[in-house]
């Protein structure tokens, strides 16, 4: 995860938030008091003054005195040490017992392991306070008993946390790899598992220390913890509340102390958890900002993509200079940088590119579905003559809801798991077409039937988890057919599917196109899929279209070196087995670090000084194809044949691969 450098940066991030800083300062103050409290105020805390008992706050005694005339404030300050020592002891017991119990299932494995984890699961269901009371009875009333009680009561929660974390890490491939390499279980636990779960454990232990402090004061408050003449905050509170009508400060001072110290631990732990993206026991981790240090703040001017001529009459979708911008911690990224294209009635346009090329965001942007932190800008963005840059309105929603169908990548997660499939389809009709529930459901069954879901009537009443992946993807297409779509936007619709199922889904899309002259925008990383299904292919690289070529010409007439390399790098069923595959050195451009000039220059064998300085515009040729390259169509050098002996060129390849920021 974090390198040392990254860790330092995160700590700084934690400590520069107001909450994190406050908590850290409070923690330091508590630590100082723990050490110095008894030294500085020990005598005044024990000074009995029978002439001045149960006094209200005064200049001599800021929080008044107790029933022996001792100064409450001094006693509260002195009590810091005992309270903290007991809390730390208790949390140590809890963490130690929790670690043992939590790691045991992994070490023991098999039946014994399952027994331990079942026992932990039963124990964790009982609230800590109840367990603490139970142990307090067993260990007897007093400080030691309370330490054991609070500690053991906290153990199940830590055991469960450890168990979950261990199981997570143990499921990772690097643990499997270590096992295959012959590393023993205990060694794996110490070398691979514990270091990788240390962060969340420490954070939760910090929060737990706060919890232990409060739990301890609770026990003392009940009279079950620290016994006179010793005193911790809970004990002072216990004494103070009996005199609350005489001197409220006697209860409020220790109460405030407990609260501040508990808060210090909790807030500090939570801030660290948030800064480091560590899960805590309550709730899920906050979303982490997805961006990295964005170099894109210094917006390099981009040439706008070559303007296709005025849109013809049969254009369904018209896109000019489309841009998508996301804010990041340090600036903005622009994963889509000036994209222009048209889609005609009934036309199938493929968009190919690697991860980070901006192809999916382009699809989302033309469908008005970019998540709300992103900004979409476009010179022109029109669908069926409606301006898609216009603000949201019921009319626009109705038009899009009935004319634009979407198919997403992962059919497993794209349906709402808690609603029946039929209802999810019917919703389109009740929302946009004014149909009643029964009527809409009837239409849903009909559409499911038309995408060849067998026994559609029964299937409509099922939940998504009862459908197979391919069936869900067909149902998703059926959902698009609830209206009368003019355009289907399919974002990697078959990536999550098996090849045989993939073919069925692609066939279904082709049928729909043919039947009603529906246009299709198919996003895919797979050149072969796009070439098979589409009429025209847009090749995207680093947020721009670098080539727009007919699907038939993809293999033979492509001009851009990236397109040509992409086609050659992917083995197909007729690839020459005697030749090494073409390779593209380096790695795809990170949207946050788009270089000046042509973004592909760093990986391009044809690149020269001009390429590195000036981004080539997308220029249209006579046949309607478009390409953005200063060296379009120039012959490429033969793919370098690299053998083990040929060591000279190999590190050049690595040098090009950008280093991934932590």
């Amino acid at each position: 995860m974090a390198s040392d450098h990254g860790r330092a940066r995160r700590w700084r991030g934690v400590l520069t938030t107001p909450v994190g800083l406050t908590a850290a300062v409070l923690l330091v103050a508590v630590a100082v008091l723990t050490v110095l409290g008894p030294v500085l105020w020990g005598t005044s805390a024990d000074a009995v003054d029978t002439r001045d008992v149960l006094a209200t706050p005064s200049p001599e005694h800021w929080a008044g005195t107790d029933n022996l005339g001792r100064d409450i404030l001094a006693r509260t300050l002195v009590a810091t040490r005992l309270s903290m020592v007991l809390a730390v002891c208790a949390i140590t017991v809890a963490v130690a017992a929790g670690l043992l119990l939590g790691a045991a299932p992994y070490l023991l494995g098999g039946r014994a392991g399952r027994l331990v984890s079942a026992a932990v699961n039963v124990a964790v269901a009982f609230p800590g306070l109840l367990l603490a009371l139970f142990f307090a009875v067993v260990f007897g009333v007093g400080a030691t008993g309370a330490v054991m009680a609070v500690g053991l009561a906290g153990a199940p929660v830590f055991a469960r946390l450890t168990q979950t974390l261990v199981a997570q890490v143990a499921g990772r491939d690097y643990v499997s790899a270590a096992r295959v390499a012959g590393v023993g279980r205990l060694r794996i636990l110490l070398r691979h598992v514990l270091p990788n779960i240390a962060e969340p454990l420490v954070v939760n232990a910090t929060i737990g220390a706060g919890g232990a402090l409060l739990a301890f004061s609770g026990l003392s408050f009940l009279g079950l913890g620290v016994q006179s003449p010793a005193y911790d905050w809970g004990r002072l509170l216990y004494d103070g509340i009996s005199a609350i009508y005489v001197n409220p400060a006697a209860a409020l001072a220790p109460g405030l102390a407990v609260l501040l110290a508990g808060l210090a631990f909790n807030l500090f732990g939570e801030s660290v958890a948030k800064g480091f993206g560590v899960p805590v026991l309550v709730g899920a981790p906050e979303l982490r900002s997805r961006g990295r240090a964005a170099a894109a703040a210094a917006d390099a001017p981009t040439g706008t993509d070559g303007d296709p001529d005025e849109a013809a009459d049969d254009v369904v979708l018209e896109v000019r200079d489309l841009e998508v911008v996301f804010p990041t911690a340090t600036g903005t990224v622009r994963p889509v940088r000036g994209v222009s294209f048209d889609v005609r009635r009934g036309e199938a346009v493929g968009v190919v590119g690697e991860s980070g090329s901006g192809k999916s965001l382009t699809a989302l942007a033309v469908s008005r579905l970019v998540s709300e932190d992103g900004t979409v800008r476009a010179g022109r963005l029109r669908f069926l003559d409606q301006d898609l840059t216009a603000p949201d309105s019921p009319a626009l929603r109705r038009m899009l809801g009935t004319s634009l169908a979407m198919v997403f990548q992962d059919p497993m997660t794209s349906f709402n798991p808690t609603r029946r499939i039929g209802r999810q389809l019917a919703e389109v009709a009740t929302e946009h077409q004014g149909l009643g529930r029964a009527e809409a459901l009837g239409r849903a069954v009909d559409r499911l039937d038309s995408v060849r879901i067998p026994d559609a009537g029964r299937r409509a009443r099922q939940y998504p988890h009862e459908f197979s992946g391919g069936m869900r993807q067909r149902a998703m297409i059926g959902m698009g057919l609830m209206g009368t779509p003019s355009l289907v936007v399919a974002d990697e619709p078959t990536t999550a599917l098996d090849v045989t199922v993939q073919q069925q889904v692609l066939d279904l899309l082709a049928e729909i196109r043919a039947a009603d002259d529906v246009a299709l925008v198919l996003i895919s990383h797979d050149v072969t899929v796009v070439a098979e299904v589409c009429d025209r292919v847009l090749v995207m690289y680093a947020g721009r279209i670098v080539e727009d070529v007919s699907a038939a010409g993809l293999a033979t007439r492509a001009q851009h070196p990236y397109t040509r390399a992409l086609v050659a790098a992917v083995p197909h069923m007729d690839t020459d087995l005697d030749q090494p595959l073409a390779t593209i050195p380096g790695r795809p451009v990170d949207p946050a670090e788009v270089p000046a000039g042509c973004a592909y220059a760093a990986r391009c064998p044809l690149a020269d000084a001009r390429c590195r300085a000036e981004d080539p515009p997308l220029v249209a040729a006579v046949d309607g194809s478009r390409v953005a390259c200063w060296h379009a169509g120039e012959p490429l050098p033969d793919p370098v044949v690299r053998t083990a002996e040929d060591r000279t060129g190999l590190d050049a390849l690595d040098a090009d691969e950008l280093v991934e920021a932590p």
């Binding site: 909450v19 039963v122 269901a125 009982f126 609230p127 800590g128 306070l129 109840l130 009371l133 139970f134 307090a136 009875v137 067993v138 009333v141 609770g218 009940l222 009279g223 079950l224 509170l237 509340i241 609350i244 009508y245 409220p248 209860a251 409020l252 407990v258 609260l259 508990g262 808060l263 807030l267 939570e270 309550v282 899920a284 979303l287 804010p327 579905l369 998540s371 709300e372 932190d373 929603r397 109705r398 979407m406 997403f408 992962d410 997660t413 794209s414 709402n416 798991p417 808690t418 919703e427 929302e431 946009h432 099922q462 988890h465 009862e466 459908f467 197979s468 069936m471 990536t495 999550a496």
Partner: protein, 339 residues
Amino acid sequence: MTTTSTPTLADAASTSAAAAPRWWEQPWVLFAARRALRLLVSVWVLVTASFAMIHLIPGDPVRGALGPTAPAALVEARRTALGLDDPLPVQYLHYLQGLFTGDLGTSLISQLPVVDVVGQRLPATLALAVLAFLASVAVAVPLGTLLGVLTRRGHGRRTELAFTTTSIVVATVPDFLIGVALVYVFGVELGWLPVAGNASAEAYVLPVLSLSIGPAAILARIVRVEMVTVLEADYIRTARAKRLRARRIHLRHALPNALTSALTLGGLLLGSMVAGTVLVENVFAWPGLGSTIVSSILNKDYPVVQAIVLVYGLGVLLVNTAVDVSLALLDPRSMIREG
């Protein structure tokens, strides 16, 4: 492409479509059986633990209860009466027998049957816990949902920070401290509300408040986080692609899913609320099980402690089971997913 070899749920469904599942293979039957089994095991653990408690105490519990000055004959008589001189398995059997016949033993101090003590104190505690639960849910769910929508990705960063910090701070304050503060403000300073007992309707206000504020803060926080997470889900994007109204997306598509996740943690919270009554009852001199258990622990009246631990534990287990069942009703996957 992953190549997991465990069959997907859909595979299971399609194979079961071929050969109709027998009734005991229905997911809900299996689910009910598993749940019942888990409840039984947990109850057994609880009963055994409460039985073991009295034997884990170092020294002679009867001597401890009656004090060092009690005559030896009395101690011995009590020991015999409690059956403490029998062999352990016999005692265990007697204990189980007693539980089934509603005999929880006799208080060492008051000599009253423990069943009567518990029966007399239980309603007050139950009323407190249920009211506090309802109050915290009524506040937390709408609040968490609203804040989830307001702080969804790309929105309300300041709101999020303010809410998260506030909720942590509020949730950190232990219920008995809230109780003390409420007593001070409304009882001592303002004198508006009664601070002890449960004689009147007004007497419920402060105890319920102090018991529900913390859990409400935690629950609201969980609901918010879940709501934000759910609003990022693929199926919400699907709902947006259907161009539904925002309100429908938030309430019909997001909220039920957010609640199912929140419910799991909410169940634990509810359990801790049951236990939380112990402290709050002691602040407000509430005549419930909580104040009784503390005085019984201090008086070493072990049969009463045993019984109350049992009652609290049962309460928690029933709450957890209720949560699991409602989870299964809300999210049909959960029946199959976990065992």
